[in-house]
């Protein structure tokens, strides 16, 4: 909960967090090492220095630390795990789904744990998705289309095999599809960051929501175009958020574009914890104002009502969370007691 100067309490959902294990013991090869090195460079290149972690801590961190960073220090009332597999780089995978699920069971009013799938796993993967849904009643999945599998260097949402999985999601009511585009998707001569396949899938599956993480960066322009055409396409702010500190003018320009092309109902806050801690991102975002010239050029407004939608309202709608009812549920729950907030 973030409290404004006027004392208003702002409910916050961090829609993109992770619990990962990139420890040396879990790294399979140089790719595993390079993957986490790159994440670490993201942290140090775009966070204020007081929020740089020790590299060792960054490789693998405890559930306790996550709870403290996201909820105690981080203002979030709820958070959503968005796990990635990376089985070719890490022995047990990168995202620690098992422990994310356990933590979610410990704090059921606070955490939602999405699952993931890889369409190249064929029938076996479809069965696993069904089982996982029976066990956890999934609300969403995170897809990392640049994941390697055998000789394959990635897949597209428009692949037939992916369609089988999206049909399954539709059938099971797993309606939130979070997509992260990464590099090195075959065919390698094409633009690996191209988001045209999201357009395709969003048209074919109108009942599903497609949340393009990182706003399709580095192809923001293509993303804006697709989101204008497809009303079930959303923009996840993770990765763009830290620009609020590192390049505030660019952050303002991007927000101006998003509000212009997408409108305020389809932009969703995510910190991408543990690359960035939500606490400082939220503080800066609450203080942030769009410069006059950008307001005039785009007609965009980033007032408190819009901020509330971005910080919780929009994600709540996608995840069937009634914010007022949820406030009651968390008021004195286990985490609130641990945080010693129940008396506040």
């Amino acid at each position: 909960m973030y409290r404004t100067m006027d004392g208003e309490e702002i409910f916050i959902i961090d829609a993109h967090i992770a619990l990962w294990d990139a420890s040396k013991e879990n790294q399979l090869n140089v790719h595993g090492q390079q993957f986490i090195d790159c994440f670490y460079d993201y942290q140090t290149s775009l966070s204020p220095q007081e929020f740089w972690w020790d590299k060792e801590d960054f490789l693998k961190y405890s559930e306790d630390r996550l709870i403290k960073d996201v909820f105690h220090k981080g203002y979030a009332d709820m958070a959503i795990f968005q796990p990635v597999l990376l089985k070719e780089f890490y022995k047990n995978g990168f995202g620690d789904i098992e422990n994310s699920q356990k933590l979610t069971q410990t704090y059921p009013n606070r955490l939602i744990c999405n699952d993931t799938f890889d369409p190249r796993h064929g029938k076996r993967g479809l069965e696993e998705l069904e089982k996982s849904n029976e066990r956890y009643s999934l609300k969403g999945v995170k897809l990392y289309t640049a994941d390697w599998y055998g000789d394959s260097k990635g897949y597209k949402l428009s692949d037939d095999s992916t369609y089988r999985y999206l049909e399954k999601c539709q059938e099971l009511g797993i309606k939130n599809i979070h997509i992260h585009k990464g590099p090195t998707i075959t065919p390698l001569n094409r633009d690996a960051f191209d988001v045209a396949d999201v357009d395709d899938a969003a048209t074919s599956f109108p009942e599903l929501n497609f949340i393009v993480e990182h706003l399709g960066l580095p192809r923001l322009e293509d993303f804006c175009w697709i989101a204008t055409q497809e009303k079930n396409v959303y923009g996840g702010l993770s990765v763009a958020m830290p620009f609020i500190y590192a390049r505030p003018r660019y952050f303002a320009e991007i927000m101006g574009e998003l509000l212009f092309w997408l409108d305020e109902d389809r932009i969703i806050f995510g910190s991408d914890y543990a690359i960035w801690e939500p606490g400082w991102l939220i503080e800066k975002f609450m203080e942030f104002e769009l410069p006059e010239d950008i307001k005039q050029e785009t007609g965009a407004e980033l007032n408190l009502d819009v901020k509330k939608k971005i910080l919780a309202g929009n994600a709540a709608r996608l995840y069937d969370i009634d914010i007022e009812a949820q406030k009651g549920k968390i008021n004195n729950d286990r985490l609130a007691q641990e945080m010693n907030l129940s008396s506040v």
Binding site: K153, P183, T184
Partner: protein
């Protein structure tokens, strides 16, 4: 001019196609070794994962430009610390096509990709130049009527001249037919009507922003990766 200056001058012409900025500005050039008429250029990228296709384009362009120098007999290019370093370094050294270097993983070569990003660079430079003109008091009507000849003749500030030249250079690379006399056109060389101009400008702005945004990311990541001093 020293040999190293010869090489640097050529490297100034090699651009990262995604960012539309020269490798020398981006600090991607790690080292240049000159022995007699042999030159080796080492370059580096912001991440281990940067797309191999763009890396290949840069490696090919380094080799091509450096080979243009009259005293150079052999130009070698080495990309360090990249997931496809071996394929790229061997492929470019042997003058192989991209599709031969990554056999079975492509459906063709890089011409289409080069073209896509040439157009993005065109939009991006056009947006910067057009904004400059509008800020200087040009009306939208004047903008759509402006001919290439008039553009050469108008008085511009130093910044304006720089932006114009950058724009015209990209426009030239798109090989518009000689019959195309308008200064501000779409990537195919068609004039833009006054009715379409506002929407057109909205579109090209997102491309410019996207490229600039990525430029900041890439610089930041490179600085973090190689512990370089922060630029601002």
């Amino acid at each position: 001019m020293s040999k190293k200056q010869d090489v640097m001058e050529k490297l100034d012409k090699v651009y990262d196609p995604e960012l539309d900025q020269p490798l020398t500005d981006l600090d991607f050039i790690d080292d240049i070794t000159i022995e007699g008429s042999d030159v080796e250029v080492k370059f580096r990228l912001p991440t281990y994962w940067c797309s191999p296709n763009f890396a290949y384009i840069m490696a090919e362009d380094i080799k091509e430009y450096v080979s243009e120098i009259d005293w150079v007999k052999e130009a070698r290019v080495t990309l360090d610390d990249h997931c496809a370093s071996d394929e790229i370094n061997h492929g470019v050294a042997q003058g192989k096509q991209f599709s031969q270097s990554f056999e079975g993983q492509t459906t063709g070569d890089l011409d289409e990709l080069r073209k896509t990003f040439r157009i993005k660079a065109f939009y991006s430079r056009q947006d910067r130049f057009v904004r400059h003109l509008l800020n200087k008091g040009f009306s939208k009507e004047e903008l759509v009527r402006l001919t290439l000849q008039e553009l050469e003749d108008i008085t511009l500030s130093e910044e304006g001249i720089h932006l114009r030249d950058k724009y015209l250079q990209k426009k030239k690379e798109l090989n518009h037919p000689g019959t195309c006399i308008n200064a501000i056109t779409d990537p195919e060389g068609n004039a833009i009507t006054i009715d379409d101009l506002s929407d057109y400008l909205l579109g090209i702005k997102t491309t410019r922003l996207s490229m600039e945004f990525n430029g900041h990311y890439c610089r930041g990541l490179l600085e973090a990766r190689y512990h370089l001093e922060k630029t601002n």
